[in-house]
Symmetry: C2
Subunit: 113 residues, 2 copies
DNA sequence: TCCTATGTTCGATCTGCGTCGTACTGTTCG
DNA sequence: CGAACAGTACGACGCAGATCGAACATAGGA
């Protein structure tokens, strides 16, 4: 089938979202998608995220994020394109994506000497 | 020592908070504390949360939540009292606690048969 | 002083899940 | 048709972390 199913945003629970975002790799992928802004394929995301993991692992993480209602998938010829469900997530969990924008503490904490 | 240290809310990262809230038991404990409203001891929380786990497990979860900046601990004679750092968390991550108020899907998913 | 109640810490166990490799599906191009 | 590419499905492996029990610490009351 060419159709890609996604859960209606109303049926998404915060529990599932939290579990999905608890993994550092998935959090990086989400941030990369947020930075990309629009549709991006797997290799684009990996380059943007700066992580090097197997493609089956990427597929696994994408699946988890999709089932958590966070990302959307579209078929484009030979490849799949992914994007953040920005409006849906913002409507369902206002402020969540804003929290994620603050990236991980680069080089440990920014210790105020 | 009678002093209980807590991380300044500015130093708390969303990564740590997400990891802390990803566990179903900890999420239940946080919801119980939110329902309690004010300071509650371990047995109070367990009763409010309706879970039956060993006290060492509770101690472990409380530690994780405290290090994530979510709860505060105070010594009261023979026992420790815990409470949600509501204002701090709301200031640092606006909207987060509101998302958590929506409790878990009672009786599994609301299957649309 | 001794006993009880509340938490913490430590060690051991065990399950969940993140990761990888391989095989498979589907699409595009030569 | 056949080769190459993008992603998925599945099985296996290993590790992080959730849980428990026991020992310890501390405060309060008999």
């Amino acid at each position: 089938m060419t159709e890609v199913i996604e859960p209606p945003i109303e049926t998404v629970t915060i529990d599932v979202v939290l579990s999905a975002l608890a993994d550092p790799v998935r959090l990086t992928l989400v941030r990369a998608l947020a930075a990309a802004g629009d549709w991006a394929c797997g290799s684009d995301i990996l380059r943007e995220a700066g992580v090097t993991i197997g493609k089956s692992t990427v597929s696994h993480h994408v699946k988890v994020l999709r089932e958590a209602g966070l990302i959307s998938t579209r078929v484009d010829g030979i490849r799949r394109l992914f994007t953040l469900r920005y409006d849906d997530v913002e409507q369902r969990f206002p402020g969540l994506l804003t929290m994620l924008r603050e990236r991980a503490p680069a080089g440990a904490a920014a210790e105020r000497s």
